[in-house]
Structures are given as C-alpha cells and as structure tokens.
C-alpha cells in the first residue's frame, strides 16, 4: 500500500465535511491526468465522502489507510 507514490499532497486534517471534498475537487485540477494525489483528513465521514466523490467524478481511489485518526487517500486523476 505504501508503494503508492504520490505526485502531490493535500492536507485536509482538521477540516469538517464538506471541506475535504471541496478542497480535493480543486486540488485534483492542479495535477496531470494519470498522476496521483495524496490527501490526509481527520473528518470521520471522509472515507464515505471520498468513495462517493471518486465514483461521481470518475476519478480513482487507488488506496487508503487510517492511522491514529488520520485517513490517507491516494487518488489517481483519470480525467
């Protein structure tokens, strides 16, 4: 899982819903198609939000894990 190499990192720790979703929607535009964005969040709703967001926007949730209340997501920009 840690083999995933991110091209950019977005820190959404401390942001409440829908902060992380709004921030990643803007941040994903700053990387190239095919690149991977790493996002960290502490909002407990973020795993469900990220699944819904990637499904609806056609981006890909490559991997995710949680450690000490911090969720980390790796998203590949598909379009």
């Amino acid at each position: 899982m840690d083999a995933v190499k991110a091209d950019a990192v977005l820190d959404c720790r401390g942001d409440l819903c829908p902060g992380p979703v709004i921030k990643i929607a803007r941040a994903i535009q700053t990387i190239q198609v095919g690149q991977i964005l790493e996002m960290q969040a502490t909002d407990p709703g973020s795993p469900a939000d990220m699944q819904a967001w990637t499904r609806q926007t056609g981006q890909e949730l490559v991997a995710s894990h949680e450690a000490g209340g911090v969720f980390t997501f790796y998203v590949r920009r598909n379009k």
Binding site: G14, D15, L16, P18, G19, V21, I22, I24, A25, R26, A52, W53, Q56, T57, G58
Partner: protein, 151 residues
C-alpha cells in the same frame, strides 16, 4: 413460425435492445443537476445553499443557485461580508454555554441593543474554530466550480 418472420423479429429486437442500452448509457453520462434557492440574508441561513452548491459542484454536478428576497444580500458586494445573525425569534439562540449549561437567556434579552452584533461575533467565532469557510470564501469557491448564480 415462418423462419423469415422469426429472423425479422430477432433482428428488430436486437435493434431495439441496442437502442435502449444506448439511451441508458447516455442518461448515466449526463451530469446530475441541482437547483437551489437562497432567500435569506442572515449569516446562518446563507450557509445551507452555498454548502450544498459547492459540495454538489465538487462532485461534478451542474448547479444553479437562485438568489431572491434577502438572499440578494449574499450577492451584494458591500453586504456579503456584513451578514448578521439575530438572536430574536429563534428559540435555538443563544445555545447553552458549556460552562454554564443551566443559564437560560430570556428571548427578550436578545432584543436589547448590541445583541445582534454579539450573536454575530459568537457565530463567526464558532465558524472560525470549526475551520469552516466564510460566506465570501464559499462564494469564491462556488464561482470557481462554475456554479451558476441567478438573481
């Protein structure tokens, strides 16, 4: 059954099924759409339409917000940063203080001079503490996400 007729039916069914599948695929590829009305000009009530608009916009939805009545203040260059929340006529205001949960403030107190400013300051403090965007920030995000604004 006449083999020619059978062949004809089969061919027609294939055509219709293919068309139906294409229609379904087209429908799924169309973005979801959302229309919202912002009719209130208070600090608290400016949030719901803009939170929904920016979230839906982040999901790639086509969003339109219609501003009407007091909601027009959200669009007003000079008023957007000065939206207030009043404590009068709102039974949920002020919320109990964590340090003094037994203290109930009579509604009438909310009508005293300065109480609107005080409630507004309190709410802005909570908003900042919760790291929520301000209303002008939400409007900037909405514009960036190509949310359509109607007035």
């Amino acid at each position: 059954m006449n083999p020619e007729l059978e062949q004809y039916i089969e061919q027609r069914v294939d055509e219709v099924v293919a068309r139906r599948f294409k229609d379904l695929a087209d429908r799924d590829s169309r973005p979801s759409r959302m229309a919202l009305v912002a009719s209130k000009g208070t600090l608290d009530m400016a949030y719901p339409p803009l939170i929904l608009a920016t979230t839906a916009g982040s999901l790639g939805w086509e969003v339109g917000v219609f501003f009407t009545f007091y909601g027009m203040d959200i669009l007003h260059r000079d008023r957007i940063g000065k939206l207030k929340v009043g404590p009068v006529g709102n039974p949920a205001m002020p919320p109990p203080l964590q340090s003094l949960p037994w203290m109930k403030v009579p509604n009438l107190v909310g009508a005293l001079p300065g109480m609107t400013a005080m409630a507004t300051t309190m709410m802005k403090t909570w908003i900042a503490r919760a790291k929520l965007p301000t209303i002008p920030e939400l409007m900037d995000i909405a514009k960036e996400l190509k949310v359509s604004l109607f007035a």
